[in-house]
Symmetry: C2
């Protein structure tokens, strides 16, 4: 390219991205490129709208497999796809990397640093963060698992605990460092506990000289009476047996009352643990405050049947950010299928709206079932009246997750990593990277 | 595992790792698990010694492919293997994660934080860092490429520059942000420039809406008269043509005189560049100071013919940390084969020493050739009188690098990523992760 050539604008997007819509085509601004936001953007591919999709990261994360990154089974790039690559061929979408600071409802604009992005339709799909039920000091000690950076931080924490145990001269300290506590026995907590047990007790068993990682303790703490409370009781029992086989110790009915660097207190029992992980609660992003909306007790925005903000028919809230209800009035769970179906639903609503439809339908969630995995070869699955467990459920779980992973390349790489891990019991992604990568 | 069970020590390693040797078996302490240190440790597998291998990271990096991580072609785990996994079956080695602070030559101990690790034989293989030739302020602006964290930082920097250009309203700023300057046209600089050109101008070409990445400028700056100075002149010319085909602009005979956030000044020309990368010089680690040894002008320790520190027959310095000479007195280059052969050589020396051999041989480097790649399908290779270029050299380059990548799993994953990139022009690892992952 010769010197002085002007950078050309690549397509027919508005000359200034951040001016308000100029009346040509309605602008749809989507905040968040998780399952909900991405599904909405894709469903609007052929629609006569200009879409602006904003996310804090340049990639979409397949959250159901984050725990495998945290336990060194997969690399971040295996479960994350660049948003620009996913939507590369969709010409009516402009992607903006940035952190939204607020929403100006009156003037129909999203605030992004010093910039304002005007909208005709707004889709808020900002997901959820962890809730520590008022104990914010616990966050530093007991990290949760919501992002790629969370996952690599947990991987670092788990691997460094073993490194420090190997170097320690003190028996109690070695015992503490080889104790891993996971708080919360929903699907994330169960999957994390199973995967840590396999990583520490099997994959790393031969790799240390002064400690024996296979003697590590993995403790799963749950305030309720059983694990996997969203599943039928019989599957909880199956899951408990599978965890016991992996050597995971259970503490049921044990509410956490203290948590610091040394460990935690759960159900009155003091547990010295070098690694404490949080899988107990989620709270929505600050969307409710941005929208001046009434949140539920988990910080989610209460929405109408058509997933709009009460009193504003052009602002939609979906996914983990929204409190929507099923036909019986029960709140919908914070899982990927809900977010994806909601994204599709509101995209259709926007298209109908532009075509002049006066009526709006209500969102109906089609529940195709529920899956959770517990280490190698064990899982539980529920599809209406069909309940599965054991190896068949595990194979089903693998097939479903690979199928839904976005991008052919990721699917292949995941299959390869999994097959390799299955055959060798090894973990390929055991890297301690980032700021605290050093042992000292 | 029932409560109260004692953690057992897993093998016959010395009861306290950090006491001086107790006379049973000589202890060999190796600092650094790069090509040199790892090769020494492996060659001592059957020897009657206790080895302590110390590294700042828990993984060994295949440095020749680091530039592919920096340009989003490979994931960190594709080119890094956990040291414990590599040496899992070698029972006479203990691995310590930590940063060495100094060496106590008098009392035969390595200082690691507050701990001392006694040695009978010491191998210093701590590699090299970048040298900014006295301009230390340039380091922050123009990062170099020596570690996995360097590579992910460069990947973040390159991808964020394009994101910022996409969001910028200013023509000059967009032009600056889509200009990438690489300083130094040795193999690393040439490979980096070629890979950035392919990433930005081809892989990402369709992914932006307001900028056209294919119009980006990639400028390779070199103070000397030609690229790849360690290769014959005819191959330099081939390399220059290959770079030109990729759209890389060359500035030969252009010494850098200034470098800041806005860009750089090279050979009197002022170049506004949003990304400046450093591939111009290396300097050894602080080993010379630790050993109170005379360094050469690059900070490397001058060693005897048997790679020992002058005056101390039990301290070896190898790899990029050492200044060793070939038969003609020419310093050996800082490449992987030199380090690997040196590791093997000193391992044999130590074994002979223990067996009571009074004599020591001199290290001789066997040069099997020289390879560098310039983007897709182009490379240059030199093996004595045989010189190759173009697609055949590229295939050879691929085969050699895959062969030498440690660990079967890594080889398979790399082949998969490369084939995928080759077929689709896509890059799988385009993730902006880490502290500065946000766009704002």
């Amino acid at each position: 390219m010769p010197e002085g050539t002007e950078m050309r604008l690549a397509n027919a997007a508005p000359a200034c991205l951040f001016c308000a819509g100029d009346g040509r085509r309605p602008r749809v601004v989507i905040v968040g490129a998780g399952f909900g936001g991405l599904s909405a953007a894709r469903a609007l591919a052929g629609a006569p709208v200009d879409i602006v999709l904003i996310d804090r990261h340049n990639y979409h994360v397949f959250q159901p497999l984050l725990y495998q990154v945290a336990t060194a089974g997969l690399s971040p790039a295996d479960i994350a796809s660049p948003i620009r690559a996913i939507l590369s061929r969709q010409r009516n979408v402009t992607i903006v990397l940035g952190t939204v600071g607020g929403i100006d409802k009156e003037n129909r604009a999203v605030l992004l640093g010093e910039r304002r992005i005007g909208f005709d339709y707004l889709v808020v799909a900002t997901g959820a963060r962890h809730s520590y039920f008022g104990h914010d000091a616990w966050e530093r000690v007991a990290p949760g698992l919501k992002t790629i950076d969370d996952a690599t931080a947990i991987r670092r924490k788990v691997l460094l605990a073993l490194e420090r145990a190997e170097s320690s001269e003190d028996e109690d300290e070695r015992r503490r460092l080889t104790t891993f506590a996971i708080i919360g026995a929903g699907p994330t907590g169960v999957e994390l506990a199973g995967a840590i047990a396999e990583l520490v007790r099997v994959a790393l068993a031969a790799d240390f000289r002064r400690i024996d990682p296979s003697m590590s303790r993995i403790i799963l703490v749950e305030a309720g009476p059983r694990i996997l409370p969203s599943f039928p009781e019989c599957l909880s029992a199956v899951g408990q047996r599978a965890l016991a086989r992996l050597g995971v110790q259970l503490r049921l009915g044990a509410a956490v009352t203290a948590c610091d660097e040394g460990g935690l207190v759960a159900g009155g029992e003091s547990i010295a643990a070098g690694t404490v992980l949080w899988a107990a609660g989620v709270a929505a992003s600050p969307a409710a405050a941005w929208l001046e909306a009434a949140p539920d007790r988990n910080g989610r925005v209460m929405v109408e049947a058509d997933l709009t903000l009460p009193g504003d028919a052009n602002i939609f809230v979906i996914g983990d950010t929204a409190h929507a209800r099923d036909r019986t009035g029960k709140p919908l769970p914070g899982v990927a299928p809900v977010a994806k179906q909601q994204g599709l639903f509101i995209a259709r609503t926007i298209i109908a709206d532009i075509r002049g439809s006066a009526q709006r339908g209500a969102f109906r969630y089609r529940d195709f079932g529920n899956l959770a995995t517990i280490g190698r070869k064990a899982a539980v699955a529920e599809f209406g009246f069909v309940r599965l467990s054991g190896r068949l459920a595990w194979l089903l779980w693998g097939a479903v997750h690979i199928y839904f992973l976005i991008g052919f390349r990721n699917r292949l790489a995941v299959v390869l990593d999994w097959l390799w891990a299955y055959v060798t019991f090894q973990r390929g992604a055991r890297l301690i990277t980032g700021a605290d990568a050093h042992g000292s």
